[in-house]
């Protein structure tokens, strides 16, 4: 274990706790529904949404807070690394962490949208009572959330292609800048 592992563990725990609290924020709205004597459909939808949120929080806490050792090793790439003295070692690790945070943010949004979708379905079922058969959502409305779910899962797994591409581009930009700097220096020495 080195400084990098410790720092990543702290960041992972922080990400887990932050998103767990963020997921809990619509809970007050759900409790207010219960006070308004809801129908069986609404109560069922609320209970299902609550279970979904609780499951997501449980997974977050398990993987990012209690079992963060395995995840840290996967993010860093190997168990024992020398103390990082150059940015190049940090860059893919930091980008991977950002991707994981982004993935959780995506999935968080999808979970919120799913609970909203379930509550809408329950609301329509409760109010229309088989008079209308149309769904409150069309496939076109659901498609962005499906794509977001796929993107979220990809990012959660560290987005290896994206990270590799970003690292390559960053190093390219640094090399270009260094070349320019060298050219400037040589031009100034010629002037002198």
């Amino acid at each position: 274990m080195n400084k990098m592992h410790t720092l990543i563990k702290i960041i992972l725990s922080a990400i887990g706790i932050f998103f767990a609290i963020r997921l809990l924020s619509p809970l007050s709205l759900g409790i207010s529904y219960l006070y308004s004597k809801p129908s069986w459909e609404t109560a069922g939808a609320w209970l299902f949404s609550l279970l979904l949120v609780a499951g997501a929080i449980g997974l977050l806490m398990y993987f990012l807070v209690y079992q963060h050792d395995k995840l840290t090793k996967k993010i860093v790439g190997s168990e024992q690394l020398p103390e990082p003295d150059s940015q190049v070692q940090w860059l893919p690790v930091a980008l991977r962490l950002i991707c994981i945070a982004g993935g959780i943010y995506f999935l968080n949004t999808v979970i919120w949208q799913t609970t909203f979708f379930i509550s809408q379905l329950a609301f329509f079922k409760e109010n229309t009572r088989s008079i209308y058969t149309f769904a409150p959502y069309s496939p076109r409305d659901i498609l962005p959330w499906i794509i977001m779910l796929i993107c979220g899962i990809y990012l959660l797994f560290g987005a290896p292609h994206f990270v590799r591409w970003q690292v390559k581009k960053t190093l390219q930009q640094c090399t270009t800048s260094k070349k320019q700097q060298d050219e400037d220096q040589s031009a100034s020495s010629v002037e002198i």
């Binding site: 940015q87 930091a94 991707c99 962005p144 977001m148 960053t170 800048s177 260094k178 400037d184 220096q185």
Partner: protein, 195 residues
């Protein structure tokens, strides 16, 4: 620049970006009110101009010329050598761009999908216009819808650009640093002396 100064710069840019995105959302709501007209128009225009000035000020002070704020926050310290400084600056700015790009992308996913599928809707509409010589009713939007559509479109473009790595801005920041480097400053002072 020191490591702390570069980190402070990245954090300030992140704050600036998020502040601008939020302010633009308010401006969008206000613009729709102006386009709608009404008795509160003068007050709305006043608010809009104040919001616009604040947005420009934030963009200037937090994103483009944030060095004075960075030095005030972090003070002085051990400077990095030019090579490492470039690496730190490029990496930290790129990380900020990717992180904020993800946040914007999550919010603008429906817009991006709408842009992708727009040719499927545009060609039948063009056909309708050419055949019946009338403007389709489905293209008539309210002022509020227009302003939000433009805002979402710009947000989607910004998300894509940030995820691409924000190369122009990073190059601009590197150029600023280059003009402030001791070599260039010496050349500048030598030039003044010669004059």
């Amino acid at each position: 620049m020191t490591k702390m100064q570069i980190i402070a710069k990245a954090v300030l840019i992140f704050i600036g970006l998020s502040a601008i995105a939020n302010l633009c959302q308010y401006q969008c709501a206000l613009t729709s009110t102006v386009l709608y007209g009404g008795t509160f128009m003068f007050r709305t225009v006043l608010f809009l101009s104040v919001f616009l000035i604040v947005t420009i000020a934030i963009a200037y002070l937090f994103i483009f010329k944030n060095d004075w704020l960075v030095y005030k926050i972090t003070g002085s310290g051990e400077k990095l050598n030019p090579e490492r400084e470039t690496l730190w600056l490029v990496s930290s700015l790129r990380m900020v761009a990717v992180l904020y790009g993800f946040l914007l992308l999550a919010a603008s996913m429906p817009t991006i999908l709408n842009i992708i599928v727009s040719p499927l809707y545009i060609f039948p509409l063009i056909n309708e216009i050419l055949t019946f010589k009338t403007f389709p009713k489905s293209l008539i939007f309210t002022s509020s819808q227009w302003s939000y559509m433009i805002y979402n479109f710009l947000k989607a473009i910004l998300a894509a650009y940030l995820l691409y790595g924000w190369p122009q801005f990073i190059r601009f920041q590197l150029n600023i640093r280059k003009t402030k480097s001791p070599l260039n400053q010496n050349r500048y002072t030598e030039g003044i002396k010669n004059e």
